[in-house]
Protein backbone atom coordinates (compact mmCIF):
# COMPACT_ATOMS: atom_id res chain seq x y z
CA UNK A 1 0.00 0.00 0.00
CA UNK A 2 1.20 3.50 -0.84
CA UNK A 3 0.08 6.18 1.60
CA UNK A 4 0.68 9.80 0.74
CA UNK A 5 -0.10 12.16 3.61
CA UNK A 6 -0.24 15.92 3.30
CA UNK A 7 2.83 16.13 1.08
CA UNK A 8 4.24 19.55 0.28
CA UNK A 9 7.05 20.11 -2.16
CA UNK A 10 8.55 23.16 -3.79
CA UNK A 11 11.35 23.88 -6.22
CA UNK A 12 12.76 27.14 -4.89
CA UNK A 13 9.90 29.60 -4.65
CA UNK A 14 7.64 27.48 -6.82
CA UNK A 15 5.20 25.38 -4.81
CA UNK A 16 4.62 22.22 -6.83
CA UNK A 17 2.69 20.07 -4.38
CA UNK A 18 0.41 21.73 -1.85
CA UNK A 19 -0.73 19.09 0.55
CA UNK A 20 -1.41 15.92 -1.37
CA UNK A 21 -3.29 13.05 0.31
CA UNK A 22 -3.68 9.80 -1.58
CA UNK A 23 -3.79 6.15 -0.63
CA UNK A 24 -3.30 3.46 -3.25
CA UNK A 25 -4.22 -0.07 -2.24
CA UNK A 26 -2.57 -3.25 -3.47
CA UNK A 27 -3.80 -4.19 -6.92
CA UNK A 28 -5.31 -0.82 -7.60
CA UNK A 29 -4.71 1.23 -10.74
CA UNK A 30 -4.87 4.97 -10.21
CA UNK A 31 -4.54 7.39 -13.10
CA UNK A 32 -3.43 10.93 -12.45
CA UNK A 33 -4.55 13.55 -14.95
CA UNK A 34 -4.19 17.32 -15.08
CA UNK A 35 -2.52 20.15 -16.92
CA UNK A 36 1.23 20.50 -17.19
CA UNK A 37 2.86 21.97 -14.12
CA UNK A 38 0.15 20.57 -11.88
CA UNK A 39 2.66 18.47 -9.93
CA UNK A 40 1.65 15.03 -11.23
CA UNK A 41 5.12 13.92 -12.32
CA UNK A 42 6.80 15.39 -9.27
CA UNK A 43 4.56 13.27 -7.05
CA UNK A 44 5.84 10.10 -8.73
CA UNK A 45 9.49 11.01 -8.27
CA UNK A 46 8.75 11.76 -4.61
CA UNK A 47 7.18 8.33 -4.10
CA UNK A 48 10.40 6.50 -4.87
CA UNK A 49 12.56 9.09 -3.14
CA UNK A 50 14.21 10.56 -6.23
CA UNK A 51 13.00 13.94 -4.96
CA UNK A 52 12.96 15.04 -1.33
CA UNK A 53 9.74 16.51 0.09
CA UNK A 54 9.32 19.59 2.26
CA UNK A 55 6.73 18.21 4.64
CA UNK A 56 4.20 15.44 5.08
CA UNK A 57 5.14 11.83 4.55
CA UNK A 58 4.93 9.00 2.07
CA UNK A 59 4.70 5.40 3.26
CA UNK A 60 5.28 2.40 1.04
CA UNK A 61 4.20 -0.79 2.81
CA UNK A 62 4.62 1.09 6.07
CA UNK A 63 8.17 2.27 5.31
CA UNK A 64 8.53 6.02 5.35
CA UNK A 65 10.27 6.91 2.08
CA UNK A 66 11.94 10.11 3.23
CA UNK A 67 12.97 8.95 6.71
CA UNK A 68 16.73 9.17 7.21
CA UNK A 69 16.88 5.53 8.29
CA UNK A 70 15.25 4.27 5.09
CA UNK A 71 17.51 2.43 2.67
CA UNK A 72 16.25 3.98 -0.55
CA UNK A 73 18.19 1.63 -2.81
CA UNK A 74 16.42 -1.27 -1.13
CA UNK A 75 13.02 0.41 -1.20
CA UNK A 76 13.34 1.21 -4.89
CA UNK A 77 13.56 -2.49 -5.70
CA UNK A 78 9.85 -2.78 -5.10
CA UNK A 79 8.86 0.44 -6.87
CA UNK A 80 9.38 0.39 -10.61
CA UNK A 81 9.18 3.68 -12.49
CA UNK A 82 9.06 4.40 -16.20
CA UNK A 83 9.63 7.93 -17.43
CA UNK A 84 8.40 9.98 -20.34
CA UNK A 85 11.86 9.96 -21.91
CA UNK A 86 12.88 6.41 -22.79
CA UNK A 87 16.13 6.46 -20.81
CA UNK A 88 17.61 3.40 -22.41
CA UNK A 89 21.21 2.80 -21.42
CA UNK A 90 22.68 3.32 -24.92
CA UNK A 91 25.91 1.37 -24.37
CA UNK A 92 24.08 -1.82 -23.37
CA UNK A 93 22.06 -4.24 -25.49
CA UNK A 94 18.36 -4.68 -24.80
CA UNK A 95 19.10 -7.80 -22.78
CA UNK A 96 21.88 -6.09 -20.83
CA UNK A 97 19.64 -3.10 -20.14
CA UNK A 98 17.15 -5.40 -18.48
CA UNK A 99 19.61 -7.68 -16.64
CA UNK A 100 21.74 -4.88 -15.20
CA UNK A 101 19.68 -4.11 -12.11
CA UNK A 102 18.81 -7.72 -11.21
CA UNK A 103 22.49 -8.59 -11.38
CA UNK A 104 23.97 -5.53 -9.67
CA UNK A 105 21.22 -4.71 -7.20
CA UNK A 106 19.87 -8.15 -6.41
CA UNK A 107 23.12 -9.99 -6.98
CA UNK A 108 21.53 -12.51 -9.34
CA UNK A 109 23.68 -14.74 -11.51
CA UNK A 110 23.91 -13.83 -15.19
CA UNK A 111 21.85 -16.83 -16.28
CA UNK A 112 19.11 -16.28 -13.69
CA UNK A 113 18.88 -12.60 -14.58
CA UNK A 114 18.74 -13.42 -18.28
CA UNK A 115 15.98 -15.93 -17.75
CA UNK A 116 13.87 -13.31 -16.02
CA UNK A 117 14.80 -10.63 -18.55
CA UNK A 118 13.84 -12.83 -21.50
CA UNK A 119 10.53 -13.60 -19.83
CA UNK A 120 9.69 -9.92 -19.41
CA UNK A 121 11.01 -8.95 -22.83
CA UNK A 122 8.83 -11.62 -24.40
CA UNK A 123 5.97 -10.27 -22.36
CA UNK A 124 6.34 -6.79 -23.86
CA UNK A 125 6.94 -8.23 -27.33
CA UNK A 126 10.68 -7.67 -27.63
CA UNK A 127 11.78 -11.30 -27.46
CA UNK A 128 13.48 -11.02 -30.85
CA UNK A 129 15.51 -7.91 -29.97
CA UNK A 130 17.69 -9.24 -27.17
CA UNK A 131 21.07 -8.54 -28.75
CA UNK A 132 20.07 -5.25 -30.33
CA UNK A 133 21.27 -1.87 -29.07
CA UNK A 134 18.56 0.63 -28.07
CA UNK A 135 19.47 3.02 -30.88
CA UNK A 136 18.08 0.45 -33.32
CA UNK A 137 14.68 0.43 -31.59
CA UNK A 138 11.70 2.64 -32.25
CA UNK A 139 10.46 4.90 -29.47
CA UNK A 140 7.66 2.51 -28.63
CA UNK A 141 10.05 -0.41 -28.46
CA UNK A 142 12.44 1.56 -26.25
CA UNK A 143 9.59 2.44 -23.94
CA UNK A 144 8.47 -1.20 -23.76
CA UNK A 145 12.07 -2.14 -22.98
CA UNK A 146 12.04 0.40 -20.15
CA UNK A 147 8.89 -1.27 -18.82
CA UNK A 148 10.50 -4.71 -19.02
CA UNK A 149 13.58 -3.30 -17.29
CA UNK A 150 11.50 -2.07 -14.39
CA UNK A 151 9.48 -5.31 -14.24
CA UNK A 152 12.63 -7.43 -14.11
CA UNK A 153 13.16 -6.22 -10.56
CA UNK A 154 9.80 -7.84 -9.68
CA UNK A 155 8.43 -4.64 -8.20
CA UNK A 156 5.22 -4.57 -6.16
CA UNK A 157 4.35 -1.15 -7.53
CA UNK A 158 4.76 0.47 -10.91
CA UNK A 159 4.78 4.21 -11.50
CA UNK A 160 4.29 5.47 -15.05
CA UNK A 161 5.15 9.06 -15.81
CA UNK A 162 3.50 10.09 -19.09
CA UNK A 163 5.08 7.11 -20.78
CA UNK A 164 3.37 7.76 -24.11
CA UNK A 165 3.88 11.53 -24.31
CA UNK A 166 7.12 11.38 -26.28
CA UNK A 167 5.87 8.76 -28.74
CA UNK A 168 4.64 9.10 -32.28
CA UNK A 169 0.85 8.66 -32.30
CA UNK A 170 1.00 5.29 -34.08
CA UNK A 171 3.29 3.92 -31.36
CA UNK A 172 1.15 4.95 -28.40
CA UNK A 173 -1.15 1.95 -28.74
CA UNK A 174 1.52 -0.71 -28.32
CA UNK A 175 2.73 0.85 -25.07
CA UNK A 176 -0.78 1.33 -23.70
CA UNK A 177 -1.53 -2.31 -24.51
CA UNK A 178 1.45 -3.31 -22.40
CA UNK A 179 0.15 -1.21 -19.52
CA UNK A 180 -3.32 -2.74 -19.84
CA UNK A 181 -1.79 -6.19 -19.74
CA UNK A 182 -0.02 -5.30 -16.53
CA UNK A 183 -3.16 -3.87 -14.99
CA UNK A 184 -5.07 -7.04 -15.89
CA UNK A 185 -2.43 -9.08 -14.11
CA UNK A 186 -3.12 -7.19 -10.90
CA UNK A 187 -0.09 -4.90 -10.77
CA UNK A 188 -0.51 -1.91 -8.49
CA UNK A 189 -0.01 1.11 -10.70
CA UNK A 190 -0.03 4.87 -10.57
CA UNK A 191 -0.15 6.28 -14.08
CA UNK A 192 0.36 9.94 -14.80
CA UNK A 193 -1.18 10.20 -18.24
CA UNK A 194 -2.67 12.40 -20.89
CA UNK A 195 -4.43 9.42 -22.46
CA UNK A 196 -7.98 9.96 -21.28
CA UNK A 197 -9.23 6.79 -22.94
CA UNK A 198 -6.65 4.76 -21.05
CA UNK A 199 -7.48 6.49 -17.77
CA UNK A 200 -11.18 5.76 -18.25
CA UNK A 201 -10.84 2.14 -19.37
CA UNK A 202 -8.08 0.82 -17.17
CA UNK A 203 -8.09 2.72 -13.87
CA UNK A 204 -10.00 1.94 -10.71
CA UNK A 205 -9.76 5.57 -9.74
CA UNK A 206 -8.84 8.77 -11.54
CA UNK A 207 -7.26 11.73 -9.74
CA UNK A 208 -7.34 15.22 -11.19
CA UNK A 209 -4.44 17.49 -10.22
CA UNK A 210 -4.75 21.24 -10.50
CA UNK A 211 -1.88 23.56 -9.58
CA UNK A 212 -0.34 21.34 -6.94
CA UNK A 213 -3.64 20.26 -5.40
CA UNK A 214 -5.60 17.06 -5.93
CA UNK A 215 -8.80 18.77 -6.91
CA UNK A 216 -10.85 15.62 -7.32
CA UNK A 217 -10.58 11.85 -7.18
CA UNK A 218 -13.10 9.16 -7.94
CA UNK A 219 -14.04 6.24 -10.16
CA UNK A 220 -13.54 6.95 -13.86
CA UNK A 221 -17.28 6.97 -14.57
CA UNK A 222 -17.76 9.74 -12.08
CA UNK A 223 -14.75 11.85 -13.10
CA UNK A 224 -15.47 11.58 -16.81
CA UNK A 225 -19.24 11.52 -16.53
CA UNK A 226 -20.11 13.70 -13.61
CA UNK A 227 -17.15 15.69 -12.33
CA UNK A 228 -17.97 17.69 -9.21
CA UNK A 229 -15.12 20.14 -9.54
CA UNK A 230 -15.36 23.06 -11.91
CA UNK A 231 -11.64 22.85 -12.79
CA UNK A 232 -11.97 19.15 -13.60
CA UNK A 233 -14.85 19.79 -15.97
CA UNK A 234 -12.97 22.62 -17.63
CA UNK A 235 -9.85 20.47 -18.07
CA UNK A 236 -11.78 17.52 -19.46
CA UNK A 237 -13.67 19.64 -21.94
CA UNK A 238 -10.39 21.13 -23.13
CA UNK A 239 -8.73 17.78 -23.79
CA UNK A 240 -11.66 16.13 -25.47
Amino acid sequence: MIEIENVHKSFGALKVLKGIDLTVAKGEVVSVIGGSGSGKSTLLTCINGLEPIDSGRILVDGTEVHAKSTDLNKLRRKIGIVFQQFNAFPHLTVLENVTLAPRKVKGMSKSDAEEIAVKHLNHVGLGDKLKVYPSRLSGGQQQRMAIARALAMSPDYMLFDEVTSALDPQLVGEVLDTLKLLADEGMTMICVTHEMGFARDVSNRVAFFDQGVMAEIGPPEQIFGDAKNEATRKFLSSVR
Binding site: T45, N48, L50, N73, K74, R76, R77, I79, G80, I81, F83, Q85, N87, F89, P90, H91, L100, A101, K104, V105, Y133, S135, A146, R149, A150, M153
Partner: protein
Protein backbone atom coordinates in the same frame (compact mmCIF):
# COMPACT_ATOMS: atom_id res chain seq x y z
CA UNK B 1 73.70 11.16 -53.60
CA UNK B 2 73.10 11.45 -49.88
CA UNK B 3 75.74 11.01 -47.23
CA UNK B 4 75.41 11.01 -43.49
CA UNK B 5 77.62 10.24 -40.53
CA UNK B 6 74.62 8.98 -38.58
CA UNK B 7 75.48 5.51 -37.33
CA UNK B 8 73.40 2.67 -35.99
CA UNK B 9 74.68 3.60 -32.55
CA UNK B 10 73.32 7.10 -32.97
CA UNK B 11 69.95 5.68 -33.93
CA UNK B 12 70.00 3.53 -30.82
CA UNK B 13 70.80 6.69 -28.86
CA UNK B 14 67.71 8.33 -30.35
CA UNK B 15 65.64 5.24 -29.63
CA UNK B 16 66.73 5.40 -26.00
CA UNK B 17 65.61 9.03 -25.91
CA UNK B 18 62.29 7.98 -27.40
CA UNK B 19 62.01 5.41 -24.61
CA UNK B 20 62.45 8.15 -22.02
CA UNK B 21 59.82 10.28 -23.78
CA UNK B 22 57.43 7.34 -23.75
CA UNK B 23 58.13 6.61 -20.07
CA UNK B 24 57.54 10.22 -18.99
CA UNK B 25 54.39 10.38 -21.11
CA UNK B 26 53.16 7.10 -19.65
CA UNK B 27 53.65 8.16 -16.02
CA UNK B 28 52.31 11.67 -16.63
CA UNK B 29 49.21 10.51 -18.49
CA UNK B 30 48.50 7.64 -16.11
CA UNK B 31 48.91 9.80 -13.02
CA UNK B 32 47.20 12.75 -14.62
CA UNK B 33 44.25 10.67 -15.78
CA UNK B 34 43.74 9.06 -12.36
CA UNK B 35 43.84 12.46 -10.67
CA UNK B 36 41.71 13.94 -13.46
CA UNK B 37 39.10 11.23 -12.90
CA UNK B 38 38.98 11.92 -9.19
CA UNK B 39 38.93 15.72 -9.56
CA UNK B 40 36.49 15.55 -12.48
CA UNK B 41 34.01 13.46 -10.50
CA UNK B 42 34.35 15.88 -7.59
CA UNK B 43 33.84 18.87 -9.88
CA UNK B 44 30.79 17.27 -11.50
CA UNK B 45 29.17 16.08 -8.29
CA UNK B 46 29.61 18.84 -5.71
CA UNK B 47 28.41 22.41 -5.83
CA UNK B 48 30.68 24.76 -7.85
CA UNK B 49 31.51 26.96 -4.85
CA UNK B 50 32.58 23.94 -2.81
CA UNK B 51 34.97 22.89 -5.56
CA UNK B 52 36.33 26.43 -5.87
CA UNK B 53 39.73 25.79 -4.18
CA UNK B 54 40.28 22.74 -6.40
CA UNK B 55 39.21 24.62 -9.52
CA UNK B 56 41.56 27.47 -8.62
CA UNK B 57 44.60 25.22 -8.17
CA UNK B 58 43.87 23.37 -11.41
CA UNK B 59 43.49 26.68 -13.22
CA UNK B 60 47.02 27.59 -12.14
CA UNK B 61 48.38 24.39 -13.67
CA UNK B 62 46.48 25.11 -16.86
CA UNK B 63 47.49 28.75 -17.16
CA UNK B 64 51.19 28.86 -16.25
CA UNK B 65 53.49 27.77 -19.09
CA UNK B 66 54.72 24.25 -18.55
CA UNK B 67 58.35 25.28 -18.86
CA UNK B 68 58.00 27.67 -15.91
CA UNK B 69 56.25 24.96 -13.87
CA UNK B 70 59.04 22.49 -14.57
CA UNK B 71 61.88 24.85 -13.72
CA UNK B 72 60.17 26.22 -10.61
CA UNK B 73 59.27 22.75 -9.34
CA UNK B 74 62.80 21.52 -9.89
CA UNK B 75 64.29 24.57 -8.16
CA UNK B 76 61.89 24.30 -5.21
CA UNK B 77 62.54 20.65 -4.65
CA UNK B 78 66.28 21.37 -4.70
CA UNK B 79 65.94 24.26 -2.21
CA UNK B 80 63.67 22.21 0.03
CA UNK B 81 66.18 19.39 -0.14
CA UNK B 82 63.66 16.74 -1.23
CA UNK B 83 66.33 15.11 -3.34
CA UNK B 84 63.83 14.09 -6.04
CA UNK B 85 65.43 13.26 -9.38
CA UNK B 86 64.63 15.49 -12.36
CA UNK B 87 62.89 12.53 -13.99
CA UNK B 88 60.47 12.08 -11.09
CA UNK B 89 59.99 15.84 -10.77
CA UNK B 90 59.15 15.99 -14.47
CA UNK B 91 56.66 13.16 -14.17
CA UNK B 92 54.95 14.80 -11.18
CA UNK B 93 54.71 18.23 -12.82
CA UNK B 94 53.49 16.78 -16.12
CA UNK B 95 50.98 14.59 -14.28
CA UNK B 96 49.55 17.62 -12.47
CA UNK B 97 49.50 19.55 -15.73
CA UNK B 98 47.69 16.64 -17.42
CA UNK B 99 45.26 16.28 -14.53
CA UNK B 100 44.23 19.93 -14.83
CA UNK B 101 43.12 19.34 -18.43
CA UNK B 102 41.79 15.86 -17.77
CA UNK B 103 39.59 17.16 -14.94
CA UNK B 104 37.73 19.39 -17.37
CA UNK B 105 37.39 16.57 -19.90
CA UNK B 106 35.97 14.24 -17.24
CA UNK B 107 33.65 16.87 -15.80
CA UNK B 108 32.31 17.77 -19.22
CA UNK B 109 31.80 14.12 -20.16
CA UNK B 110 29.99 13.30 -16.92
CA UNK B 111 27.73 16.30 -17.33
CA UNK B 112 26.96 15.14 -20.87
CA UNK B 113 25.24 12.05 -19.46
CA UNK B 114 21.56 13.01 -19.30
CA UNK B 115 20.27 13.48 -15.76
CA UNK B 116 17.14 11.50 -16.68
CA UNK B 117 19.24 8.47 -17.61
CA UNK B 118 20.96 8.60 -14.25
CA UNK B 119 17.59 8.93 -12.53
CA UNK B 120 16.38 5.85 -14.37
CA UNK B 121 19.43 3.97 -13.12
CA UNK B 122 18.93 5.09 -9.53
CA UNK B 123 15.22 4.31 -9.72
CA UNK B 124 16.14 0.69 -10.43
CA UNK B 125 17.88 0.57 -7.06
CA UNK B 126 21.43 1.10 -8.31
CA UNK B 127 23.62 2.88 -5.78
CA UNK B 128 25.49 6.06 -6.62
CA UNK B 129 28.64 4.03 -7.15
CA UNK B 130 26.91 1.51 -9.39
CA UNK B 131 25.32 4.31 -11.38
CA UNK B 132 28.79 5.80 -11.81
CA UNK B 133 30.56 2.62 -12.86
CA UNK B 134 27.79 0.95 -14.88
CA UNK B 135 26.10 3.90 -16.56
CA UNK B 136 27.95 7.20 -16.23
CA UNK B 137 31.54 6.10 -16.91
CA UNK B 138 30.78 3.96 -19.99
CA UNK B 139 28.62 6.72 -21.47
CA UNK B 140 31.06 9.48 -20.52
CA UNK B 141 34.00 7.54 -21.93
CA UNK B 142 32.55 7.82 -25.42
CA UNK B 143 32.31 11.57 -25.03
CA UNK B 144 35.72 11.99 -23.42
CA UNK B 145 37.86 9.72 -25.58
CA UNK B 146 38.63 12.07 -28.51
CA UNK B 147 39.67 14.88 -26.16
CA UNK B 148 41.63 12.48 -23.99
CA UNK B 149 43.56 11.14 -26.99
CA UNK B 150 44.32 14.71 -27.99
CA UNK B 151 45.52 15.46 -24.48
CA UNK B 152 47.78 12.39 -24.44
CA UNK B 153 49.37 13.31 -27.76
CA UNK B 154 49.80 16.88 -26.55
CA UNK B 155 51.48 15.77 -23.34
CA UNK B 156 53.82 13.52 -25.30
CA UNK B 157 55.01 16.47 -27.35
CA UNK B 158 55.05 18.84 -24.36
CA UNK B 159 57.22 16.34 -22.50
CA UNK B 160 60.08 17.55 -24.72
CA UNK B 161 60.32 20.54 -22.38
CA UNK B 162 61.83 18.37 -19.64
CA UNK B 163 65.11 18.59 -21.55
CA UNK B 164 65.56 21.86 -19.63
CA UNK B 165 65.97 19.77 -16.48
CA UNK B 166 68.79 17.87 -18.19
CA UNK B 167 66.79 14.78 -19.07
CA UNK B 168 67.88 12.97 -22.21
CA UNK B 169 64.55 12.40 -23.84
CA UNK B 170 64.00 12.25 -27.59
CA UNK B 171 64.42 15.93 -28.44
CA UNK B 172 67.47 16.38 -26.18
CA UNK B 173 69.05 13.30 -27.73
CA UNK B 174 68.54 14.74 -31.17
CA UNK B 175 70.14 18.02 -30.05
CA UNK B 176 73.22 16.10 -28.92
CA UNK B 177 73.51 14.41 -32.29
CA UNK B 178 72.97 17.67 -34.15
CA UNK B 179 75.77 19.31 -32.19
CA UNK B 180 78.11 16.46 -32.97
CA UNK B 181 77.18 15.66 -36.58
CA UNK B 182 76.08 19.11 -37.77
CA UNK B 183 73.22 17.62 -39.79
CA UNK B 184 70.26 19.42 -38.20
CA UNK B 185 67.74 18.94 -41.02
CA UNK B 186 68.27 15.23 -41.40
CA UNK B 187 68.31 14.48 -37.68
CA UNK B 188 65.24 16.61 -36.97
CA UNK B 189 63.47 14.80 -39.80
CA UNK B 190 64.23 11.47 -38.18
CA UNK B 191 63.27 12.78 -34.74
CA UNK B 192 60.00 14.06 -36.10
CA UNK B 193 59.36 10.70 -37.73
CA UNK B 194 59.96 8.97 -34.40
CA UNK B 195 57.48 11.30 -32.64
CA UNK B 196 55.00 10.46 -35.37
CA UNK B 197 55.56 6.72 -34.92
CA UNK B 198 54.93 7.08 -31.19
CA UNK B 199 51.75 9.12 -31.67
CA UNK B 200 50.24 7.31 -34.62
CA UNK B 201 49.20 4.08 -32.83
CA UNK B 202 47.57 6.07 -30.02
CA UNK B 203 45.60 8.19 -32.46
CA UNK B 204 44.55 5.12 -34.46
CA UNK B 205 43.50 3.22 -31.34
CA UNK B 206 41.23 6.14 -30.48
CA UNK B 207 39.76 6.15 -33.97
CA UNK B 208 39.11 2.43 -33.85
CA UNK B 209 37.34 2.59 -30.50
CA UNK B 210 35.20 5.47 -31.69
CA UNK B 211 34.15 3.56 -34.80
CA UNK B 212 33.39 0.45 -32.78
CA UNK B 213 31.16 2.40 -30.41
CA UNK B 214 29.50 4.27 -33.23
CA UNK B 215 28.15 1.02 -34.61
CA UNK B 216 25.80 0.88 -31.64
CA UNK B 217 24.64 4.46 -31.85
Amino acid sequence: MFETDLSLNDLMFLAKGAGVTLAITFFAVTGGTLMGLLFGVIRAQIKPWMALPLTFVLDIFRSVPLLIQLILANAFQAIAGFGISPFVTSCIVLALYTSAYCTEIVRGAIEAVPMVTRRAARSLGLTWGQDMTQIVFPMALRVALPSWIGLTLGVMKDSALVLWLGIFELLKSSQVLITRLQEPMFILLITGAIYFMLSFPIARLGGRLERKWKEND
